[in-house]
Subunit: 316 residues, 2 copies
């Protein structure tokens, strides 16, 4: 469920474009005007705005925004203005160049998107970077990380609901055997998580819990500081409970000393039109405070306003 | 270049369908009639025939053909009647269930098709088998074979012509180092072959030859009986010289004692509309005998007639 609110009677695209242009011109930038427009337009409306802006002023709206805005607010508006496939390609490309925590982003993109969305991101990656996400992930990672991340970003998973219970039982057993032996980088363990359909992974993990008495992620917590184990747990969560996964990312980004704007920005920009309502509910259930209130407490200025707009506040 | 010949003035699809129905009815089957129609219709025409046949007679043409025809002829007509994405999915599915020589088929499909064609095959696989080619390949292979085949079938390679010469040089060096140490299953060696664009692989292998004085496939021939090495050589060939690869498959299928109809059928059915003319030229250059003559010598009956029809003989 989306949190985005779009006005009932929408001005023509040409008006939006003109207003944005106005917001950029003269002394200073009118951030409120930018938020009141872009913070309340859905993907196809933003796409139309970007196209019309380019036709009208011969300049990419993204370039104009980057010139006018700064820091966290700039990044949020920039990510939000991108089409979702482009945005995923952009985030994945950033992640291949950085290390450690950005692996999480790759898992997120590989495992929380539908197969078609992931494929669209791969096509956008070709167009934007003249290479494939697969080669960049493979090139910039090594060892166990590569072993896990490459098949995760590569697989085009089957998306039907059909589940093979014989396979679910057999593979739950394999997972349990490998985890018991601490063979976390085992070929079969990775194969199962990286190639099976989400419905099938879910059936396997349900059986795992039934047969062995514990959530697989509990068993994958042997060493809480082990980054590879943490990546495996993210994989499991992203595949089976994406809204819980995102709620946790948001929680960690807000609750640690100093907000982790990178993660907060990413989750809000990528989920506002998908399931941010559920993520926010999940957040509140766990933290006993509404997400918007937590955001107000932890952020300021235009960045805060844009976050709240995307969370559904109308008076941004 | 295609070898297929299609009549200048084509009968209406309804006529083709009626003629095929006639060929199936009465005493025996009129194979010549089947060949004269299906052996001279391109992909979209065959698709229209299959659709119209199903609408007219409430039966899948493929089922009707399977009932009427037998052995090699049946398989050739069956493969030929499939749409290319379905055919690739069908061949890949067969290959995941069998072992050894069928690995070649997976390499062939993964490396000689365009990224879009491979993706279409993956989508057809979802529809036909309610699972993904990735999970089947991963499930039915082990060890080094899985390590190579899974990324090969999974990657959506970049298809542009852009080449990064710095990477080409660096990766040629990596390949040479690994091969010198006989580390044929090395992570980086497989990563380079499995994820780089064909243009990039080609640049890297050209640099390999320039810098180290030998074709990589010569260096991958240490033990001619090693099946994994043979698969690596096929990968290289399929990525860089598909027509040479196919000519060799055809040559081996014809020249060994007893023709390997499986391979011959597959190559003719999958390449007739793509590059069978070049494959045949390549065959003749190497064997000093035209491919059609070699086929006449080695095959018989309706199977031979259909092969020749697909090779461009008009009097099939």
């Amino acid at each position: 469920m989306s949190t985005l609110t779009v006005p009932h009677s929408l001005p023509p695209v040409s008006d939006d474009v003109e207003q944005l242009r106005k917001a950029f011109s003269g002394w200073g930038t009118n951030e409120d005007l930018i938020i009141s427009i872009l913070g309340h337009r859905n993907a196809s409306q933003r796409k139309a705005i970007r196209e019309t802006y380019a036709q009208t002023y011969g300049e990419d709206l993204l370039k104009a925004l980057d010139k006018e805005l700064t820091s966290d607010f700039e990044r949020l508006v920039h990510l939000w203005a991108l089409e979702s496939a482009e945005r995923d390609a952009f985030l994945a490309n950033e992640a291949t160049k950085k290390w450690t925590s950005s692996n999480q982003v790759l898992v997120e993109i590989a495992c929380t998107r539908s197969s078609d969305q992931l494929f669209s991101a791969k096509k956008a990656y070709h167009v934007l970077y003249k290479k494939s996400i697969e080669e960049d992930v493979a090139h910039h990672t090594t060892g166990d990380y590569r072993k896990l991340l490459l098949p995760l970003v590569s697989s085009h998973r089957y998306e039907g609901d059909e589940v093979n219970l014989t396979i679910a039982k057999a593979e739950a057993k394999i997972l349990h055997e490998k985890i018991s032996k601490k063979a976390y980088n085992d070929d079969d363990l990775i194969r199962i998580l990286a190639t099976r359909s989400k419905a099938q992974v879910n059936a396997t993990l349900n059986h795992y819990k039934d047969a062995f008495g514990k959530d697989i992620n509990k068993d994958l917590k042997e060493d809480p500081k082990d980054e590879f184990l943490s990546l495996l747990r993210s994989t499991v969560k992203c595949l089976t409970r994406p809204e819980k996964y995102f709620a946790k990312i948001v929680r960690l980004s807000i609750n640690k000393h100093g907000t982790d704007e990178g993660a907060l920005t990413r989750v809000v920009a990528t989920r506002a039109e998908i399931d941010l309502k559920i993520v926010a509910d999940e957040y509140q259930r766990r933290d006993s405070v509404p997400l918007d209130r937590a955001i107000v407490k932890d952020t300021t200025g235009d960045y805060e306003k844009m976050l709240l707009a995307l969370l559904g506040h109308n008076d941004a």
